[in-house]
Symmetry: C2
Subunit: 174 residues, 2 copies
């Protein structure tokens, strides 16, 4: 099963692609960041984001999509932009008749690091280890998108098992 | 020039169509309300809204689009839904290479009633009079969408002239 994780944003939209094999082992496929210039008008930016996402959906043919759930953020303007970017992602997923799973940042952090209040560097470090990447994915949006895909991949395994796996891996790698 | 006014929303999205002739007189063309069931998942609702809007863009072939600008509302969840619905509308406008004008509720109220804090019934009453409609458009979202189109139609005329016209009409009709 191929999972596409999307960390929605107008300035940077992270897209992480992960394959899950029959033993529930996740492997890295690709990671992209779609950027739209803030000097462009909002409708044009949404259209650029749509084109970028449509291309990635076509290239990777995912079986499932995981999108970060938008919450009220400190900056209302940013929250609106994120909500609008996530709408574009949801629209494309629905058009492709794919189920969309939504996860809060806390759920993603807990799934990947075992700790719901992990910071960005901890997420990046764990994603790098869990997917056996040679280098940490950059920027943070790229790592977040992969974390979302991993969160969805392990959804069925229950929190306890995820935490166990994660702590085991963290020990091995430290 | 044909203007399509959109009052974005997931539960009800108002779409008002107004023609502006060479004398800057506005005439009513149509008004629609697209509804998506709240029992459906968000991606499916966005897709339904997209289909509905695409059909109206094809039917009415507008030259310009006016969309209500989303502000932080009291209810954050509602604001997010409105932001996402407006993203769908902007996307379709951009796809059709149409300029999108955004107006705040206060701007729309001021343009149509001459008073930025007018209530919904005042907006409905003025839209009914200004477009010479036999009956008030219902629900309020329909009237709001027509008000948006009128606001855009009169944009070039300056606030003073709009206010003058509006007060003159209000006197005639009262």
């Amino acid at each position: 099963m191929r999972i596409l994780g999307i960390d929605p944003g107008l300035t940077r939209c992270g897209v992480g692609v992960v394959d899950l094999n029959s033993n529930r082992r996740a492997s890295f496929v690709a990671v992209h960041v779609i950027r739209t210039p803030s000097t462009n008008e909002l409708p044009a930016r949404l259209l650029e984001l749509e084109s970028g996402l449509v291309e990635l959906f076509e290239t990777y043919q995912p079986d499932a999509v995981a999108i970060e759930r938008v919450f009220s953020q400190h900056n209302v303007r940013t929250a609106m932009g994120t909500a609008q970017a996530s709408a574009v992602a949801m629209l494309i997923a629905a058009r492709n008749q794919l189920d969309v799973a939504m996860y809060t940042p806390t759920e993603v952090k807990a799934a990947v690091t075992g700790y719901g209040r992990a910071d960005k560097s901890q997420i990046t470090a764990m994603v790098t280890r869990l997917l056996g990447l040679a280098e940490p994915p950059k920027p943070a949006d790229a790592a977040d998108a992969l974390a979302l895909a991993l969160c969805h991949a392990w959804k069925g395994q229950g929190r306890a098992r995820i935490a166990e796996q994660v702590s085991k891996m963290a020990m091995v790698n430290n």
